[in-house]
């Protein structure tokens, strides 16, 4: 972790209470997307600051020369350090919108091509077409133009749309033969298939390579394309008058400080977690939104939809019309031991730390990971005693504990397994006790052990599938705890594994089941499986 960021945890004394949301927004990315959002948010009465979306200070040609240096905080109280040339200033924002534009990188290198006067990137060529003089050096009767689009197969329909637009503009030119070299034609954009068909009718030839992509050879200043036509399985060569090469669209690497805020997977440059629960512009951190390329969307219309999405989400937060989150944990400051475990593990960045941990009501999604992980048991859902378990105990444990006797305890995540259970509730026999929890991440080992202690025959924990958790890794934390309880951990002193078996309970009596709201069958099967197993034990 970046040392500056670590420090900022201590320095950021909360200046805003949860009721007072700062009506200002920081927009990261200052090209057209950023500007669209800036205009929209200004109209909403927000004070807007646009900074460059680039991380590289040296070679950016952005409109503003503001660069983001660091960012931390949570909705209503983000604090950014913005650098302007040599100056650096701290500023607070209510909201942050990541709207970095896509990086367009011509794939000359990927194809082994070198940039020479007859070789253009699609954007360069688009400009030539707009100027009206796209075809330099016409020599032969027929002018052959090669368009290289997506030979790697991973391009987006947006690039294909760009090619289509250019090719459509060229149709008026007589005796021009365009060839498109590609892998998969990305027609999955609105209206593209129709335009693609029209271009075929106009004489554009499309080569689609599965493997054995064409090679480019430079022969006395001219590029020659050699390839085996995947259809005829015969060898061809073409010395085009011009070559136009596609650009790979990719998101810009977000500033490190941004990445850290949203627990984005290291492997992807996107700010939105893998989980499909972050729909639209939402990220795992409330008040921080990802737009367009920052979340993997390149289609212009869809990016514009995101602008609406940002407006909508901000209005929701400002109007506090977000559905009641409930079940917000509270810290017992007298027990807090200053260990920062909760701060480190909160997937939503909802916990601040000044002298003791403090949980922001507007950022917290109530997953309860902090409750489960706090070594001092200093955090609990006290403000809503009914609801550590939605159906269940914590504050009236004796009641539910008595119900465990002779039954199978089902600890179910409210977003997945509990919903799945609803549709089978009438089928399942009565020898189960259902304990619904907000997120599987809040289930602690002692809940499981207590269930056994109170006479449960078996414990089944149902959480989301990997990559589906609305709290990013609540399910994984839970699964690890279940594993630990089941198979045990090694006691460093005795070098013996201590788990359920050391208590005389067969570890087969506990299981974590990944489930989704629409997979009641998986849950049903798991219940009958474990029933069968304990019968045999």
């Amino acid at each position: 972790m970046n040392s500056r960021n670590t420090k900022s945890i201590f320095l950021n004394k909360p200046e805003f209470s949860d009721d007072r949301l700062d009506r200002s927004a920081l927009i990261i990315g200052d090209d057209w997307v950023g500007e669209e959002i800036a205009i929209r948010l200004s109209l909403m009465g927000l004070e807007v600051t646009l900074v460059s979306g680039l991380t590289d200070y040296e070679n950016h040609g952005s409109e503003t020369d503001l660069l983001l240096d660091s960012l931390d905080g949570r909705v209503g109280q983000f604090r950014a350090t913005i650098v302007k040339q040599d100056q650096s200033l701290n500023k607070d924002f209510g909201f942050v919108v990541a709207a970095q534009s896509a990086i367009k990188e011509a794939r000359f290198n990927a194809y082994g091509l070198k940039k020479v006067p007859r070789v253009f990137s699609i954007s360069e060529f688009e400009q030539l077409v707009e100027k009206g003089d796209p075809l330099p050096e016409r020599k032969n009767e027929w002018y052959h133009a090669a368009f290289i689009d997506d030979l790697t197969g991973d391009s987006s329909p947006e690039t294909f749309r760009q090619f289509l637009a250019v090719l459509e503009r060229l149709k008026a030119i007589e005796k021009l033969q365009p060839y498109v070299f590609t892998r998969y034609l990305k027609v999955a954009g609105f209206g593209l298939e129709k335009r693609y068909r029209e271009l075929r009718r106009q004489g554009v030839i499309f080569f689609k390579f599965d493997d054995g992509a064409p090679t480019f050879k430079n022969e006395s200043g001219l590029w020659k394309i050699c390839f085996t036509d995947p259809l005829l399985k015969r060898d061809f060569e073409l010395t085009p008058d011009i070559i136009v090469v596609d650009e790979k669209l990719s998101p810009q690497t977000p500033p490190g400080c941004l990445n850290r805020l949203v627990w984005s997977e290291i492997s992807t440059p996107y700010l939105q977690s893998e989980s499909p629960r972050f729909t639209g512009v939402l990220t795992s951190r409330v008040g921080l939104f990802a737009v367009g390329p920052s979340r993997g969307v390149f289609d212009r219309n869809m990016i514009l939809q995101d602008v609406d999405g940002v407006e909508l989400e901000i209005r929701k937060i400002l109007a506090k019309t977000m559905p009641a989150l409930g079940r917000i944990p509270v810290v017992d400051k007298s027990k807090c031991a200053f260990c920062l475990t909760c701060v480190r593990l909160c997937p939503h960045g909802a916990i601040t730390f000044f002298d003791r941990a403090e949980i922001s009501k507007s950022s917290c999604l109530g997953c309860g990971i902090c409750i489960a992980e706090c070594p001092m048991k200093a955090i609990s859902y006290v403000n809503n005693p009914e609801n550590h378990f939605i159906v269940g105990l914590h504050h009236d444990e004796s009641k539910i504990l008595s119900e465990y006797t002779g039954k199978i305890a089902l600890f179910l995540c409210s977003r997945s397994a509990a919903q799945a259970f609803k549709s089978i509730q009438f089928i399942v026999d009565e020898d189960v006790v259902v304990v619904e929890v907000n997120c599987a991440g809040s289930i602690e080992s002692h809940h499981i052990l207590k269930a056994f202690k109170s006479g449960a025959k078996a414990v089944l924990v149902g959480g989301c599938f990997r990559g589906n958790c609305a709290s990013v890794y609540g399910n994984i934390l839970c699964e690890n705890r279940v594993d630990l309880v089941g198979s045990g951990f090694e006691n460093p002193v005795s070098e013996k594994k201590q788990g359920l078996s050391s208590l005389g309970i067969n570890p087969e009596r506990i299981r974590f089941v990944p489930t989704a709201s629409n997979t009641p069958n998986i849950l049903l099967k798991a219940i009958s499986d474990i029933k069968r197993k304990i019968k045999g034990l």
Binding site: K186, A188, K194, R295, K422, F465, N518, T519
Partner: protein
């Protein structure tokens, strides 16, 4: 007719700012977003249970989530159920609609057989006694029961009240007449989703004729019903083929567009099957593989190791001598092959639901639901006050429908602001 209904239901006129037609994922998320903006809405659906088609889709998770989004529908159903701003008008047919000076007026007909969910204890006696199989069904969200009126004997002109009499909870009301309802709204949102391509039209693929040839929606049902999970180890299920672009990218049937979601759908299903049956042979016939995820490259690379990708559409599916489907295709080495599969899935494309809408909303000019035209995806300029959300506006995934609904919510909000402030929107 309008007068007659007026006199019958004077007290039942419902005033809402927006009438949403369709309770699928787009309709639900639109209602939710509107509610967040303080705009009340009524969701009208013929079905007795909200959720639409997406609610019938299966989870595609292997050992990890594959981001298909089907599980999110449940969230929106529960969000909408508890929201006072939203009035669900389920089991309602639209009889007529008209434009009024204040906006729109919809005449509805609520079917006469209903189960009061608040009273129902889910004992299931109604299902046991019902003489019509399929009339009483289980709600996938709550596990409770509801009446699918189209299957009910009442709908076929018989008189029957067996379930009403049997119900211990007094939750079922069977009346001889349907209940007329009237909704007045300032704007209408069409969220009628899509209609899957009728695979029997492509006769050469043998759907409905050859056992083992199924559509992608059938496959969803098999996943959901636990068909594969219950197959056991002694199964003889060792090969499956996916045929892409059935009912899309096909000018002959007037569908000159890519259905957008099928490549992703098929790839996810293929990977799930591969996960369930590691030795299964999965073959995918396609024309162009469409990007279906932001990490497309990785996913396709991973999939192509597991799936035989064959570029080419089969010419025919025949009934093989062993009673299984045989696919006739030209393989990657240009050899024509006739290969037997245990199962062949036709990835049917999404089509507009125009025929339904044209019937009762024809006056609005909202009948241009043709996906094939170039204006696809753009708001319909001729219909002031009428909006389209989700797949009613072009094929969309579940997440895209939710995003589009958010966008439409904003558009409706802007429209309502304008008409409330007296700006001439024409």
């Amino acid at each position: 007719m309008a007068e007659a209904v007026d006199s019958m239901c004077e007290e039942k006129i419902m005033h809402k700012e927006v009438a949403i037609i369709g309770s699928g994922i787009a309709g639900l998320s639109l209602a939710h977003e509107l509610s967040c903006l303080g705009i009340g809405s009524a969701i009208i659906d013929r079905q007795a249970v909200a959720g639409g088609q997406a609610a019938g889709f299966a989870c595609k998770a292997t050992d990890s989530c594959q981001r298909c989004g089907a599980c999110i529908v449940h969230d929106y159903v529960s969000k909408v159920t508890i929201d006072d701003m939203i009035e669900p008008l389920l089991s309602c047919h639209i009889l007529d609609s008209s434009r009024t000076s204040a906006g729109f007026e919809l005449l509805l007909n609520e079917v006469p057989a209903r189960i009061d969910q608040a009273k129902c204890s889910g004992c299931g006696i109604c299902k046991k006694v019902c003489p019509s199989p399929g009339a009483i069904r289980i709600n996938p969200y709550t596990g409770s029961f509801f009446i699918e009126y189209s299957e009910c004997l009442l709908a076929r002109g018989f008189s029957c009240s067996v379930c009403e009499q049997a119900c211990f909870d007094d939750a079922i009301s069977i009346s001889s007449e349907s209940v007329p309802k009237k909704v007045e709204a300032l704007a209408i949102a069409i969220a009628t989703g899509f209609e899957p391509f009728d695979a029997t039209i492509k006769k050469r693929f043998g759907y409905g004729r050859i056992p083992g040839v199924i559509t992608s929606l059938d496959l969803e049902n098999l996943f959901r019903s636990g068909y594969f999970q219950n197959m056991g180890s002694e199964n003889s299920f060792s090969s499956i083929a996916f045929v892409q672009c059935v009912g899309s990218r096909d000018i002959k049937i007037g569908r000159n567009y890519c259905s957008r979601v099928c490549c992703g759908y098929a790839m996810r299903s293929a990977r799930l099957l591969k996960f369930m049956f590691p030795s299964i042979k999965v073959t995918m016939f396609f024309m162009d593989l469409q990007t279906f995820d932001r990490d497309f490259e990785d996913r396709v690379m991973a999939a192509s190791r597991e799936v035989d990708l064959i570029r080419g559409i089969p010419s025919e599916i025949k009934l093989g001598a062993s009673g299984k489907p045989e696919v006739v295709y030209n393989d990657n080495d240009d050899e024509v092959r006739v290969e037997e599969f245990d199962m062949v899935t036709l990835s049917v494309g999404m089509g507009p639901t125009t025929p339904h809408i044209g019937g009762y909303l024809g006056f609005i000019g909202a009948n241009s639901g043709n996906y094939g035209d170039g204006s696809f995806g753009n708001p319909d300029p001729t219909t002031t006050g009428v909006f389209r959300a989700g797949s009613a506006n072009g094929p969309r995934t579940i997440q895209e429908s939710i995003e589009h609904a958010a966008h439409v919510a904003c558009e409706i909000d802007r429209y309502l602001c304008k008409i409330k402030s007296g700006v001439d929107v024409e």
